[in-house]
């Protein structure tokens, strides 16, 4: 199979006493124009997977191959230009934008990354319009924008580098409920339009299943279920996925309490792969 991103047998261990095995034997692939949702509770290793894919974390085992190129951990030197085709949108737009640089200059970083690979030159203002902001935002600073607007700016910056793989690490969890779905759909549309793959990480299943083609559920550093998003949402097979879905409160006004999790429940780690 010739996928855009291939992750095989990925293991990540954080040092400490005892060492923490954050990710254990994760295999996943993302194809061009495909949207893969990665869900799980905090501490299940989903962010570590994302950070390893873009080289921020060094894997202890396994390999990350992007379009035939092995992804090397980020070092002191500049990234190889080919790897700037992977771009990431982080969770907290208050922390991921430089507070003292103008928006235009920050999006310009992405434009330059694309230019060094021989991409077409583009204007920051054009990217701002693509994410639904006014072009004159380029002259302003991050503090002049709301959380949702900042996340759009971070998306514009990532897209300006014309990535072939876009990774969103909980890009919507810092936003208001009413803008979450809109920002997630925007990421999907922009990525798919440009033919890029999207790996979308979130703990919010109700949003992920809207935009993802495939879903991957992680639990304790392993993949416990993967398959078409619709199939998993409608008919989860793994007991962990079932309890995760049952815990999502439904805004129906009927006062239905979400099912409480069994305390300290141990779910089987055998994956259900579809």
């Amino acid at each position: 199979m010739n996928e855009l991103l291939e992750v095989a047998g990925l293991g990540v261990v954080y040092r400490g006493r005892p060492p923490v095995r954050a990710v254990d034997g994760v295999d996943l692939t993302v194809g061009a124009g495909q949207v893969v949702g990665l869900v799980g509770e905090s501490g299940c290793g989903k962010s570590t997977v994302a950070r390893t894919i873009c080289g921020l974390v060094k894997p202890a085992a396994g390999a990350v191959v992007f379009d035939g190129i092995p992804v090397t951990p980020l070092g002191l030197r500049r990234r190889p230009a080919a790897l700037t085709r992977i771009q990431m949108v982080f969770q907290d737009p208050y922390a991921s934008l430089h507070p003292r640089r103008r928006i235009g200059a920050q999006i310009g970083d992405g434009v330059r990354a694309a230019a060094t690979r021989g991409g077409e030159p583009s204007e920051p203002a054009w990217w701002l319009r693509r994410v639904g902001l006014e072009p004159d935002a380029a002259r302003r600073y991050p503090h002049e924008f709301s959380g949702g607007q900042r996340q759009r700016i971070a998306i514009a910056r990532a897209l300006a580098a014309r990535p072939d793989l876009l990774i969103g690490d909980e890009p919507i969890s810092a936003l208001d409920a009413s803008t979450q779905a809109a920002v997630a759909a925007l990421m999907r549309d922009l990525a798919v339009d440009s033919g890029a793959g999207l790996l979308f990480i979130s703990h919010d299943l109700s949003v992920v299943r809207l935009i993802a083609d495939r879903l991957i559920v992680m639990y304790r550093g392993r993949i416990v279920e993967s398959g078409p998003a619709r199939a998993i949402w409608e008919d989860p097979q793994h007991p962990y996925t079932q309890s995760l879905l049952a815990a999502v409160p439904v805004p129906d006004g009927l006062g239905t309490m979400p099912a409480p999790p069994a305390d300290e429940a141990d779910y089987p780690l055998e994956p259900v792969l579809r």
Binding site: E41, S146, A177, A185, L244, D252, G255
Partner: protein, 274 residues
């Protein structure tokens, strides 16, 4: 309807030239959970802080907050301090910052018991252990000697709730108590809040932007926008027949079986809409 425990009428708040609250009316009854929804910046948190008298310096407050026979806004700071923590308590959003990292759980749970209720060391420790058992922390006696970092996020929030409940308050202000938690952990905390309200006759003001949470536990739901309560009614009515267009638009933007957004096209339509 029973007599209100806490009655907020015409509450306004100005900080320098900014109008934060513009005439908020809310009423909390014993054993009932009053939800307060709205987007960030709508003034929900400031309403909660106004009840506790924890507003930032330079705030100008008018209107009335009646707690039984007492008018909270007219009380001396000293009398206010006596009420705060003893009869009106608060749970904050982020348990990792609302607990003191360097003090044991026991120290944080007994401090105000000894101050407000004048309990001695042994009695306050016994009461603290009882409270931890009540919020379902395993092995309460040992937990008292441990520190916040030794607990998970959900456990920390339970501890924060135990601290708030220590002096058997009549009113509990819960400001986004589950926003920082995973859905599975959230389900447990919601059950706890509901049980406590029923058993202890607590009047709870639950502030959250998550309408799913609201639908699960709130008896009445108020919706705020730009410092005003635009809608306040019975849970079922607010969710099924919202009286105010803003509430309807909030509901329409939610993903999931009960929200307005079921497919990706719904999200796109929302974005292109008015």
């Amino acid at each position: 309807m029973s007599r209100a425990t806490l009655e907020i009428t015409g509450l306004t708040l100005r900080i320098s030239s900014a109008e934060i609250l513009r005439g908020v009316d809310l009423s909390l009854a014993a054993g009932r959970i009053q939800g307060l929804a709205g987007e960030s910046g709508s003034g929900k948190t400031m309403t909660g802080l106004a009840v506790l008298g924890l507003l930032p310096a330079g705030s100008q407050v008018t209107g009335s907050i009646a707690y039984g026979e007492q008018e909270l806004l007219a009380l001396s700071p000293r009398r206010r301090n006596d009420l705060r923590g003893a009869e009106i308590a608060m749970v904050f959003q982020d348990p990792s910052t609302s607990l003191h990292p360097m003090l044991s759980v026991g120290a944080q749970l007994t401090d105000h018991l000894r101050h407000h209720l004048k309990l001695d060391r042994a009695a306050s420790r016994a009461r603290a252990a009882e409270l931890l058992g009540r919020v379902r922390i395993a092995d309460p006696a040992a937990a008292l000697r441990r520190y916040p970092h030794q607990f998970s996020g959900g456990q920390r929030q339970r501890i924060a709730i135990a601290i708030a409940l220590a002096c058997a308050p009549k009113v509990l202000i819960a400001d986004e108590p589950t926003t920082a938690l995973d859905v599975t952990v959230q389900a447990g905390v919601l059950h706890l809040l509901r049980d406590l309200a029923t058993e202890m006759g607590l009047a709870v003001l639950l502030i959250t932007h998550d309408l799913g949470v609201m639908s699960a536990v709130a008896d009445r739901v108020a919706v705020m926008r730009r410092g005003e309560v635009v809608e306040n009614g019975d849970r079922l009515q607010v969710f099924t027949e919202p009286a105010h267009p803003y509430t309807a638009s909030l509901l329409a933007s939610l993903p999931g079986a009960a929200g307005g957004v079921r497919t990706l096209d719904d999200v796109r339509a929302l974005r292109e809409g008015p």
